[in-house]
């Protein structure tokens, strides 16, 4: 029983990381309607910036994380400006291929700077683990920080979208960008803002991911990026609570699958669950049903 709870806690911890990434993914998808394959690589860049500043230059972790968030925000906006903005009205496939190009680009920049060797990432969390049930159940500091960060981000983001002017502009653009523009919403700056927020979240997710799983290579980000997209689809893409639920569920399924069924098949189990969910509910758990009109 303690074993199960311990796996569950690990699952929620991993799921929280997925949820943070998925929040960024779902916002970008909701507004730009594109599969941003480069999102996972922004996570990797975020983790590398913290690695350089904290392990390399010896700055305090908080400063390192702040620098990383700033770098990723700027990077996200630059990517949007240079690669995606010219293709705003191009076919979906053209944008997808561009995103893949950006993903290759970021991976290879990291490869040139840091090399292909795995770097061991020192955790930025210094909190003592909590021991429950006479030390049988240990909850690490990373887990606590990750889960709390995820909840704060989720609530903050929901409030931002619901109550702030730019948040509501985002909602309007994702609903109908043409109509939003007619109503005086600056679509371009709204999309840029979305990319900025998404990339900032990716930086935080990168730090938290590498604090729990401390190996860092230029390819670290791609699989979590894909999984986070799966989480976003799982919960219903475009929906913020959906991304949160999807992320947590995905993390729990992955860890439990790894523990009880097969460690090699854990990814396959995650993907199989996604397929089943989509077949039963084609727009995800919290997704809106869209009627097709002639």
């Amino acid at each position: 029983m303690i074993g199960f709870i311990s796996y569950l806690v690990n699952g929620i911890s991993l799921g929280s990381v997925y949820a943070i990434i998925a929040l960024g993914y779902t916002m970008v998808y909701g507004i730009a309607k594109m599969l941003n394959f480069a999102h996972g690589d922004v996570i990797m860049i975020g983790a590398f910036v913290v690695f350089s500043t904290v392990s390399g230059m010896g700055l305090p972790p908080v400063i390192g994380i702040l620098i990383s968030v700033v770098v990723c925000t700027v990077l996200g906006m630059l990517i949007e400006r240079i690669a995606y903005k010219p293709l705003r009205h191009a076919s979906k496939l053209a944008v997808l291929i561009t995103a893949i190009g950006v993903s290759y680009f970021l991976q290879n920049v990291a490869l040139l700077i840091y090399g292909a060797n795995t770097k061991s990432f020192t955790s930025v969390v210094t909190m003592e683990p909590i021991r429950l049930a006479d030390g049988a159940l240990v909850i690490s500091g990373e887990t606590i920080v990750t889960v709390i960060a995820c909840i704060i981000i989720m609530i903050g983001l929901s409030a931002f979208i619901k109550y702030s002017k730019s948040g509501r502009a985002m909602l309007a653009v994702s609903e109908d960008s043409g109509a939003a523009q007619l109503m005086g919403v600056n679509v371009n700056s709204t999309i840029a803002l979305t990319f900025a927020i998404g990339s900032a979240l990716a930086a935080i997710a990168g730090v938290l991911l590498c604090s729990s799983y401390p190996s860092l290579t230029p390819y670290t980000g791609s699989m979590p990026g894909i999984k986070a997209f799966v989480a976003a689809v799982f919960g219903g893409i475009g929906s913020i609570p959906g991304a949160f639920i999807g992320g947590i569920l995905l993390g729990v399924i992955e860890i439990l699958g790894r523990a009880y069924i097969s460690s090699q098949l854990s990814d396959a189990i995650v993907f199989a669950v996604l397929i089943v969910v989509l077949l039963v509910k084609p727009t995800g758990i919290l997704g809106k049903q869209i009627q097709e009109k002639v």
């Binding site: 561009t98 893949i100 190009g101 996604l274 002639v294």
Partner: protein, 358 residues
């Protein structure tokens, strides 16, 4: 004279298709001459069969993405099925059929049929979805196939076949037994049957199948579904049937490519590099850069984009970076309003020149 008339009477599409076949054959003859003359480096020589594999994959994916209009990110999964089915078949019958050509032909048929079967099995649920959802589910299926292949152990002894997902010991083989698929270590010692000539023949067969499919009644039905599903449905075209047909033919041809790929390697393993979603994406890049729905474009793009990183080898660490930049730049140039304006101007410039000369 009469022959000339015949050529002139051919329709525009037929001519264009003949050019595609001719291009492949001419490429084969040129490469073969260079090979005989010993002017090809061993690096390029080793690339010839993979090149054929990529061409077949690109042409077959174009059937799904370009003709059927469904974004599939799981093409490498079907290639994986074909590769493992074909390699298993060849390994089992290595001592029974010693005639290489017959064995390889049968292996190709087996691999292709297995991939087609998976195409149908995957296609039935997947094709109910649309757009990005379909993309992510095909990606999911591809990853599942790769992961499952990595845990399969298959052995054979006098009592028949044994299968396990744990390890070789749990197969419970007799002393004379032989392990064929060793989980993550894959299949070793597949007969090395793939040659460049086989690759070219398979490319021509693939082209023949895809081009004839496109220019048939079936192909027009598939394209009508792509252009307007509801309109197609309302004139009595069975959407599910034709979508599934295109998807499974595409999967089957990916399986063919897989067999060719497997028989070119000493050890066949399912790695993220060769059968993961990255591979599917690489092939998608060929299709999009070659021109969606343009079969000849797929062939050219597959060849050029496979050779490009090799030609950039002199720049070693920077080559993939340059590849990425070229990819982004090409997409922006061909698809953005600014890029299209530049294209128009270039076109205008050349047209003016022509009229001046005239």
């Amino acid at each position: 004279m009469s022959k000339k008339m015949k050529v002139r009477n051919l329709s525009k599409t037929t001519k264009s298709n003949l050019i595609t076949y001719g291009m492949v054959i001419v490429a084969y003859i040129i490469v073969e001459i260079f090979l005989r003359a010993g002017m090809v480096s061993s690096l390029i020589e080793g690339l010839l069969v993979p090149l054929c594999v990529y061409v077949i994959l690109a042409v077959s994916l174009n059937l799904t993405v370009g003709i059927s209009g469904e974004l599939s990110l799981g093409h490498a999964g079907f290639m994986c099925v074909g590769a493992f089915a074909g390699a298993t078949f060849s390994k089992c019958l290595e001592n029974v059929i010693t005639f290489g050509i017959l064995r390889f032909t049968l292996a190709i048929i087996v691999g292709t049929l297995c991939a087609a079967l998976f195409g149908i099995l995957v296609g039935i649920p997947v094709l109910r979805l649309k757009g990005d959802y379909l993309a992510i589910v095909t990606l999911a299926f591809g990853e599942i196939i790769k992961n499952v292949v990595n845990v399969i152990y298959l052995g054979r002894d006098s009592r028949g076949f044994h299968i396990s997902i744990k390890d070789t010991i749990s197969l419970g083989l007799e002393d004379d037994g032989e392990v064929i698929i060793k989980g993550a270590q894959g299949i070793t010692g597949t007969p090395n049957d793939s040659t460049f000539l086989w690759g070219i023949i398979l490319i021509l067969i693939t082209l023949f199948i895809v081009i004839n499919l496109i220019n048939s009644r079936t192909g027009r039905a598939i394209m009508s579904i792509r252009d307007n599903r509801i309109a197609a449905e309302s004139i009595g075209i069975s959407v599910t049937k034709y979508k599934l047909l295109a998807f499974s033919v595409s999967a089957a041809l990916a399986g063919t490519a897989g067999v060719l790929y497997a028989h070119n390697l000493a050890t066949l393993t399912a790695l993220p590099k060769n059968f993961g979603y990255n591979m599917s994406i690489t092939i998608l890049v060929f299709v999009v850069l070659g021109g969606i729905g343009n079969i000849r474009g797929s062939v050219i793009a597959a060849v050029v984009l496979t050779l490009l990183p090799e030609l950039l080898r002199a720049l070693n660490d920077y080559r993939m970076l340059i590849y990425a930049v070229i990819l982004i730049a090409t997409m922006i140039f061909t698809s953005s309003p600014g890029g299209q304006a530049i294209q128009e101007r270039i076109k205008l410039f050349f047209e003016r020149r022509k009229t001046k000369e005239a």
